[in-house]
Symmetry: C2
Subunit: 338 residues, 2 copies
DNA sequence: TTGTAAGCGTTATCAC
DNA sequence: GTGATAACGCTTACAA
């Protein structure tokens, strides 16, 4: 706000026009109680003299900021960028501004971000938690003060919260079933860290699909990967070096699937001839790999929209019971898992 | 700020502790003029009672918001997401918050965003312009009021502005020279719209490289693409259907290069055997295509950091002369252009 | 239809 | 070392 100094205020307009500041304030808001003539006069003067509402002052007085805070692990991950883009679009359509902070997967940074957002008096908060976050402790400040909070994608496992998620378990079940239907018996599942709910759910879906076909869960055919390329490659190398190759590899994440594809190709194997490969998340690269990677597309735009709409609803009507929205993902069957 | 109501203020603390509000305010800021004892007492009480500074009130009083505005065409484009991520990181490291708006390539929306940002009294603005934007007219409000403004990536062609860009012309020159050195004579250049400075610069670099080797610029070997997949495919089909195939295709954008690769493969051609292919922008998919796409990696993180640092410098010292920062890109020579 | 006055929660100035 | 007071620019009862 530095150097906005000296900017014209409603008092300046009032003085010039020989009316009161409240009249100016009302006229600018098109308040019917002010005569058509005065309204016109005020608005014209304001326009001609470059008057611009000071939202900071207005916010202080109104005790609301029409701003929502967004805290995500990182902005530059495709799926999150998609959600953020959608959040920004729908928030603005409803007249809300958006303040963004990254937790960078750190629970401490996430907590600090929450405090900052509170200090800024955002009207509500949208959060996808960091990998480190345990429970909803970090968000107590908002919860205790009953300020609207909606979790999306990576959410705490607590139905007393407002959450927007996708149907990971069902999608994972479908992927696994499809692999089984295609005759694969030895399916290796490379999951993400099960400290995160989405990965626990994907694991559930996987196990259920096996169960429903009378196959038993086998510890040897399962690993967890921390989602980095480094860890993905190590796991891929490890598995593809084994004597007993899997028929299919199902990764809870396209980046890990990519590692398998690359390692396989380096070893002269081909996908899906030597083994089927299935990913999860539909990264931008997945559709253009050779072979095109089969994967699961998560509904980012829709999740962002629903999250915003729910948050605004909570800001509006104070005490709605918590609700979890489940937006279905879609299986993208391409070439890697024939 | 709704429902932050009833939250404790410095006056509540003052009353409880039988001191004045100014003492509380000072104590909380660790003002040396307040005795150690009082400071401790105040801070402890504040902590125990969950006091949280109301930044809105503080901002109004201080006439600055410690917030910077960011306006970009879209958040969900990889390169921009990278820059935004960097902006957020460095802004927060300096104690600034970040408000984001997308212009969605619309000049009108961009202008509206500028007005909103002004109303919010952001201390400065970071902008990458929309495809439609002509000149710097949209930003007059900030320019006239002398509020710091830094353009990045897509910037107006006006050296009186603060800008952070990459060396497009030199990179384009290098790419073209490399292609020529490798013996290619018929190089087809598919550029982006030259209404945008970066594309004008890439075209300049291309022409200069031809010139320096005594080759002449040939209208037939040039098209502009609007960066969409649809337009990219059409151009690729058109060119690969011609009688006289190019030796090499150089695209000002990886997405367009991808279209060429796909169309070529559909027609049974191979890259780089049938023609060399070079992109620009280093999308996440580029390194994992078959063949791996040679391209130009733009320094997004660095650009974001420099943009923030410059903006904060301008916020700090009012009247620095405008400056353009040129951060070099790096050529990623991979497999598609042997 | 318009005006008066109080107040949102801070911080800065001046005084003691 | 601390306090009183005004002001930041706006909105909103309440009055007129």
């Amino acid at each position: 706000m530095a150097r906005h100094k000296g900017h014209i205020t409603i008092h300046d307009i009032a003085q010039s026009l020989q009316v009161s500041a409240s009249t100016v304030s009302r006229a600018l808001k098109n308040d019917k109680r002010i005569s058509e003539a005065t309204r016109k006069k005020v608005k014209q003067f304001a326009a001609e003299n470059g008057y611009r509402l000071n939202v900071v002052a207005s916010n202080l007085r109104k005790q609301r900021t029409e701003t929502i805070g967004v805290i995500v692990p990182r902005i530059d991950r495709h799926f999150l960028a998609t959600i953020i883009s959608s959040i920004e679009l729908h928030a603005h359509n409803h007249g809300y501004s958006v303040v963004i902070t990254q937790s960078r997967e750190s629970s401490d940074d996430e907590e600090k971000a929450v405090l900052t957002m509170f200090n800024q008096r955002v009207d509500g908060l949208l959060i996808s938690t960091s990998l480190e976050t345990k429970g909803e402790h970090n968000f107590d400040l908002f919860i205790k003060n009953n300020i609207p909070l909606v979790f999306f994608d990576r959410v705490p496992d607590d139905i007393n919260l407002n959450r927007v998620v996708t149907n990971d378990r069902a999608s994972s079940y479908k992927v696994t079933s499809r692999l089984l239907q295609n005759g694969h018996k030895k399916i290796y599942f490379v999951n993400g860290p099960t400290s995160i709910l989405v990965f626990r759910n994907r694991l559930k879906g996987f196990k259920e699909a096996l169960n429903d076909r009378g196959l038993e869960w086998n510890e040897q055919m399962y690993t967890e990967c921390d989602l980095t390329l480094y860890s993905g490659r190590k796991i891929a190398e490890d598995i593809l070096n084994r004597g007993d190759m899997p028929d299919a590899v199902y990764c809870s994440n396209d980046t890990t699937a990519l590692c398998f594809l690359q390692v396989a190709q380096e070893r002269g194997m081909s996908v899906p001839e030597d083994f089927s490969l299935h990913g999860f998340s539909d990264e931008p690269f997945s559709a253009v790999l050779t072979p095109k990677l089969s994967t699961v597309k998560q509904p980012g735009e829709e999740m962002g929209q629903i999250a915003v709409e729910r948050l605004l609803e909570l800001i509006d009507k104070k005490d709605l019971p918590p609700k979890t929205f489940v937006i279905p993902s879609v299986i993208k069957s391409r070439e890697s898992d024939l």
